[in-house]
């Protein structure tokens, strides 16, 4: 069950890399976060860890509902260009994405022996980190780069959920507050995007 969810987490992240429309990108980010939240819920239920269940609920509420809605609202308000053209042609990314996946597997192989449980999810988390970096590199548009940054945060959260058996809740809550602050700052940035400061 956890394998299926982790697989879909990676699959939605890869679908983000192939989109050329901004709102579609936000939608796939929301679906990605939904799978992340379900992973946290399931893992918390399995380990009977109440903190992780709360984190999963907060993830679903904040990242699946609030952040995409707020982003969409501000994208419409500030008239951000909604067609995003990737710098890397699709033909190249068809080759680059498998290379990244295989490369991160080899990169993490020496580390994997140190972990007793869920060792394989670390490889997936690090490869999704690399893919989010690729997402940031791929688009020139600032709005798409923000989605890339949020995806990096998602994959770090996956690493936290799967590698450790639950991080301290204070750390995770701090991350969420940071994210909300980030969204506010980004929107100020958007407001002055066209003007000379």
């Amino acid at each position: 069950m956890l394998n299926v969810l982790v697989g879909f987490f990676l699959a939605t992240l890869i679908t983000e890399l192939f989109t050329t429309r901004l709102f579609r990108l936000v939608f796939w980010y929301a679906v990605n976060s939904l799978f992340l939240g379900i992973i946290a819920l399931y893992n918390g239920y399995r380990l009977s860890d109440k903190e992780m269940i709360i984190m999963g609920l907060i993830t679903i509420v904040v990242k699946f509902l609030i952040i995409p809605y707020v982003l969409k609202y501000f994208f419409i308000k500030f008239k951000v260009k909604r067609q995003i053209v990737p710098n890397i042609a699709i033909h190249y990314s068809v080759i680059i994405i498998p290379i990244v996946l295989v490369f991160t597997l080899y990169l993490t192989t020496p580390v994997l022996y140190n972990f007793s449980s869920n060792a394989n999810y670390i490889a997936v988390a690090i490869s999704s980190l690399m893919l989010s970096l690729l997402l940031m590199m791929e688009y020139k548009n600032v709005a798409a780069k923000i989605i890339g940054f949020l995806s990096i945060e998602n994959s770090l959260f996956l690493l936290g959920v799967s590698a450790t058996d639950g991080m301290p809740m204070l750390v995770e809550l701090g991350v969420f507050v940071d994210l909300l602050m980030l969204i506010v700052i980004i929107n100020i940035l958007f407001k002055y995007q066209g003007e000379k400061l």
């Binding site: 394998n3 299926v4 982790v6 697989g7 879909f8 990676l10 699959a11 890869i14 679908t15 192939f18 050329t20 699709i90 033909h91 990314s93 068809v94 994405i97 498998p98 996946l101 295989v102 597997l105 394989n120 999810y121 490889a123 997936v124």
Partner: protein, 306 residues
């Protein structure tokens, strides 16, 4: 042996019905008065009586191409996985055999388009080559992954293995391979997000452009090849990715098989009425997703063991 022959005959007979069913389902959902789903049979009987006219620029390729388009697909129909337990099947059929035979058929279709010496044929052939080059690696990857999951390189044995003891711990890579194969089913058969089989608009047509100046029995053969190709893909999808019902008694197994084929056709029709046709240079995005999902299922099979 007799059930094997009957299975092959069933696939032969039901394929035009599935294509007709998609069309009538689409018309029904768009509030038009639907044509009968048996219309392809009527069209076949009408076309077979008409005369053939060859353009004077065309060479011998045009005369042999309809047979060469149809015959590899007929061979693939004979090599399909069994639909119920105890049926005879051919075990050496693997990913490369299917893809190679289907590519042979596509190759002659492209030659036919080029041979007619009209501009449309060339357009259609180049587009078909563009799509086929992206379909083939994804198809090999997907079928290869499903053979790995089922512990056998042959497709027939793999389908039986999946049906009898489904490897639930490999569900992640199984589902991803299923998504990839469904995208290929749509792309290779020229359904709507990739190609619209109903229009003759020069901007959009791929398959229709190549067969534009064929008539009579030749056209009937090519249309039959198209319908059979859909039948082959649908029954591969049904036996490999919806593996249930094969261990029932033969009458129930066959009716479950037919119901699953009808279900796949209805899903394809439902996708067709809900999506717009992609621009030609957007097609690599869709097929890129198929390739990456095929590769992802292979990677997840090795990394996660799932």
């Amino acid at each position: 042996m007799i059930d094997y022959i009957l299975t092959v005959l069933l696939v032969f007979m039901i394929s035009p019905f599935l294509v007709g069913l998609i069309k009538s389902f689409k018309m029904f959902m768009l509030f038009k008065r639907p044509v009968s789903p048996f219309q392809p049979y009527v069209d076949f009987m009408k076309l077979i009586k008409k005369e053939v006219i060859y353009s004077k620029e065309s060479s011998v390729i045009t005369k042999i191409a309809p047979f060469m388009i149809l015959s590899p697909i007929i061979v693939v129909v004979f090599l399909l996985p069994p639909i119920f337990h105890g049926s005879f099947y051919i075990s050496f059929m693997d990913a490369f055999t299917i893809t190679g035979l289907l590519s042979l058929s596509t190759f002659f279709l492209m030659l036919l388009g080029l041979d007619s010496a009209s501009a449309f044929g060339g357009i259609g052939s180049s587009r078909e080559a563009f799509i086929a080059a992206l379909v083939e690696p994804a198809m090999i990857l997907t079928v290869f992954t499903i053979s790995l999951i089922a512990n056998n390189i042959g497709v027939g044995e793999a389908a039986l293995n999946l049906s009898f003891h489904f490897p639930i711990h490999h569900a992640a890579s199984f589902i991803l391979a299923g998504i990839a194969f469904f995208i290929l089913l749509i792309a290779e058969n020229g359904r709507i997000p990739v190609d619209n089989p109903e229009t003759h608009l020069e901007l959009t047509m791929v398959h229709e452009a190549m067969i534009l100046d064929r008539s009579g029995p030749d056209l009937a053969l090519i249309e039959t090849a198209g319908a059979l190709k859909f039948g082959v893909f649908a029954s591969l999808f049904v036996t490999l990715f919806l593996p249930f019902g094969a261990n029932l008694c033969w009458c129930l197994a066959v009716s479950v098989f037919v119901l699953k084929l009808v279900f796949v056709s209805l899903v394809v029709g439902w996708i067709e009425i809900n999506t717009a046709k992609l621009r030609l240079f957007k097609v690599p995005n869709l097929l890129g997703i198929a390739i990456i999902f095929g590769f992802l299922s292979l990677v997840i099979y090795y990394i996660l063991g799932a």
